[in-house]
């Protein structure tokens, strides 16, 4: 059964003329191999960072990924602070935690919306993104922008949370929690979603450890790691919260972990706002001495890792950036082999890659003839959901 078709991922990134990024080889309905080619988003950030000052590099790393827009800067400043032994004021640590958890909320809600779209639940997509808006409003109130917050600096944060903003933040969080409860019931109790997602794209615990998978991708497979607890930073060791893990490692487990993590994030933000200490937000460091430093942060997708080396001048000699998706992507190759073509998009979405990287997927048969592009893949996925609904009599 070999006829080719291209599957570019769309309709939101319908780069149909792009050459392959993910090339899935299929025999009949089953995926038998995956080849990966990335680089369409490679902007040479590590090299640019070497020609900028330490203060300027923070703005560049913010734009590595739009969704993890506070995780990378926090990891970067932590690496520089680790290098030079700079202490950060307590209030700044709490503010860092608040901004990070707000980012986690908006990122997971965005994921819920996208996953809904891939499965054919377009209402979930629209509602998920609508319910993200209170979080963007809070971000705009606190930081001045909906994305790209420019909140971080070496030795503290740039802006304070004003006392008069706190009631507004708490009200919007209440709105968000109510909407999250509704979405949670709709998603986690839906029998069609159970049939659709359980047992699909399983990553076992041993494989998750061997691939060094991170974040919800690893936690859903039973690997109990979370940088916020294991390598505490900001104010995470000063508030009470739980690490959410699953056991099955399938797409459903990953969805459950993300949804339950949102509740923990709301709790962390409330505790941080409650305990926010008085004081300064900036320790005003002067020079960065020679040395090496490492910063680790739990982004919504997993651990962000930054390594900075300095020779005493104002620019880094080397700035290594490792986003969590870099370690999680290879698990996609492993989990999609043996699965059907109609499940390929949701298995990819389950590792929550930075969206720009889900743009280009190509299906070929075993004679390297192109089969379909992503629009077709998403359509196949949505049709599978419809078929299941009919079979279940819903």
């Amino acid at each position: 059964m070999s006829h080719k078709a291209h599957i570019p991922i769309g309709p939101y990134h319908p780069l149909q003329e792009e050459p392959e990024f993910y090339k899935l080889v299929v025999e009949g309905e089953k995926v038998v191999d995956v080849d990966v080619r990335i680089g369409y988003n490679h902007r040479g950030i590590e090299k640019i960072s070497e020609s900028k000052s330490f203060d300027q590099s923070i703005f560049i790393v913010e734009r590595i990924c739009g969704i993890c827009s506070s995780s990378h800067p926090i990891a970067c400043v932590q690496a520089i602070e680790d290098l030079s032994g700079i202490k950060v004021p307590e209030r700044a640590l709490y503010i860092r935690s608040i901004v990070q958890e707000l980012e986690r909320l908006h990122s997971h809600m965005l994921w819920v919306g996208l996953a809904g779209h891939f499965l054919g639940y377009n209402t979930v997509f629209m509602w998920g993104w609508k319910y993200r808006e209170p979080i963007c409003d809070i971000m705009e109130t606190v930081t001045g922008n909906r994305q790209n917050y420019a909140m971080l600096k070496v030795g503290g944060v740039r802006r304070d949370i004003e006392k008069e903003h706190v009631p507004y933040i708490l009200t919007r969080l209440d709105d968000f929690t109510r909407q999250l409860d509704m979405l949670r019931g709709a998603i986690l109790d839906d029998p069609v979603l159970h049939a659709r997602l359980k047992g699909v794209g399983i990553l076992t615990k041993e494989e998750a450890i061997d691939y060094a998978a991170l974040g919800p991708t690893a936690r859903a497979s039973g690997v109990d790691i979370d940088v916020r607890r294991d390598h505490p930073y900001a104010a995470y060791d000063r508030v009470k919260w739980n690490v959410i893990t699953g056991t099955e490692g399938d797409v459903f487990a990953k969805a459950v972990v993300r949804i339950l993590e949102m509740y923990e994030s709301v709790s962390i933000i409330r505790q941080c706002l409650d305990k926010l200490p008085k004081g300064g937000i900036d320790s005003n460091p002067k020079d960065i001495p020679p040395g090496e430093g490492i910063g680790q942060v739990e982004a919504p997708r997993g651990e962000c890792f930054h390594y900075v080396k300095s020779d005493g001048t104002n620019s880094p000699v080397r700035h290594k950036v490792r986003a969590p998706t870099y370690m999680n992507f290879p698990t996609f190759r492993h989990t999609v082999i043996g699965q059907t073509v109609s499940d390929a998009t949701i298995i990819l979405a389950a590792i929550d890659p930075c969206y720009c990287c889900t743009e280009r997927m190509l299906i070929v048969d075993n004679k390297d003839k192109e089969l379909f592009g992503v629009q077709e893949l998403i359509r196949l996925s949505q049709e599978k959901t419809k078929r299941l609904k009919i079979e279940m009599g819903l």
Partner: protein
């Protein structure tokens, strides 16, 4: 502007292409379609094929691998068509202009009709920008 262009302003079909972006702009594009801003009520729709498009919406800092593809997409877009450069990266490559992997700015590859600066541009800025484009097509002076 001719008759065909004026007709397009009634309902603009937009094809989105990203040439190496951080995704913030792409998310803001999707945000414009969600219930809060809902650009679809103005008739603006994202299409799945460039051959159905009236406007090409470009984000991203023109990664070298994407440059030939952007040219190809522009040639395939039926004319008259418009090009919208979205964000700081689309307008001028933004922070990434010194990178070894970014090509020339977008307006040196294809002619650009509308720049919407911002990092990322807020949905309100996008709506304002699209209104300016429509006014320009209809021959009204920008205030």
């Amino acid at each position: 502007m001719g008759f065909k262009e004026k007709i397009l302003t009634r309902s603009l079909y937009v094809f989105h292409v990203s040439s190496g972006s951080c995704n913030n702009c792409d998310i803001e594009i999707l945000d414009c379609l969600t219930p809060r801003y809902d650009l679809e009520r103005f008739g603006i729709v994202l299409v799945g094929s460039v051959k159905h498009a009236d406007a090409l919406l470009c984000t991203g800092s023109t990664n070298r691998m994407c440059v030939p593809r952007i040219k190809l997409l522009y040639e395939q877009m039926p004319k008259p068509g418009f090009v919208i450069a979205w964000g700081a990266c689309g307008s001028s490559r933004g922070l990434f202009k010194d990178s070894y992997n970014t090509g020339v700015p977008l307006d040196e590859i294809i002619p650009v009709d509308l720049y919407i600066p911002g990092c990322p541009p807020k949905p309100e800025a996008v709506i304002g920008g699209v209104v300016k484009l429509i006014d320009k097509i209809n021959g009204k002076k920008n205030k």
